[in-house]
């Protein structure tokens, strides 16, 4: 099964700072997704990205969030001014290899202090 790679695995940042989370998705996919999971809670949809444009976003994905595909392969999630409540695991995902579920990356654990 092809893999989705995320970096860093853990990021600690000061409140108000900008963070960029990186994802290397499975190649040759046009669909990308970002999800987050606050500790002990369910996995929440943030944004879907299709053919270099946002196709859908949730209420969580406010003006502080942005997504980019800076070099045609990597996929980034930027949080402009982090808040304490942004502390969570952030997962990127591609459509599955043999199914319509997703292949998720191992996640970036973001801790805002």
């Amino acid at each position: 099964e092809p893999e989705v790679t995320q970096t860093p695995s853990h990021q600690v940042t000061q409140m108000g700072q900008e963070v960029i989370l990186r994802c290397v998705p499975i190649s040759n996919h046009l669909y990308f997704y970002w999800y987050r999971q606050i500790l002990g809670q369910k996995v929440e949809f943030l944004v879907s990205f299709y053919n270099n444009e946002i196709s859908e976003k949730s209420e969580i994905f406010d003006d502080q969030f942005s997504v980019e595909r800076p070099d045609g392969s990597n996929f980034t999630l930027k949080i402009r001014s982090t808040k304490l409540e942004d502390s969570a695991m952030y997962f990127c995902a591609n459509p599955g290899h043999l199914n319509y579920g997703y292949t998720f990356g191992s996640g970036t654990r973001l801790t805002v202090v």
Binding site: Y33, V43, F45, S106, G107
Partner: protein, 112 residues
């Protein structure tokens, strides 16, 4: 609204027994359903899926049952092993290319 500090339902089973994890979904328009397994510190991992035109699908040691009448989904794990200990999430999509929406998870603990 969302619950803060949600406590996951927990299921404890003896090694070798069968496990059944249940899930209720709310969107009657959902067409595709998925079960994911999430181990500590990892991303959700696809286990098995089922389309709304089916009511049962079997994989290796796992079976998913779908009851559209009562909007209920279940995951059965045969001969549960310690490696099955994880949080299990059901998820749904309205179409094949729609976003996946996760349900609340269930923590499965296997007693050796």
């Amino acid at each position: 609204g969302e619950s803060v500090g949600l406590h996951l339902p927990t299921l404890s089973v003896q090694e070798g027994d069968n496990s059944i994890i249940n899930c209720a979904y709310s969107n009657s328009a959902s067409d595709y359903f998925i079960w994911y397994k999430q181990e500590s510190g990892k991303g959700p991992q696809f286990i098995i899926d089922i389309r709304s035109n089916m009511d049962k699908r079997q994989g290796q040691r796992v079976t998913v049952l779908l009851n559209k009448t009562v909007k209920h989904l279940s995951l059965q794990i045969a001969a549960t092993q310690p490696g099955d200990s994880a949080v299990y999430f059901c998820a749904e999509k309205e179409t094949s290319y729609d976003k996946v929406i996760f349900g609340p998870g269930t923590s499965l603990s296997v007693i050796p």
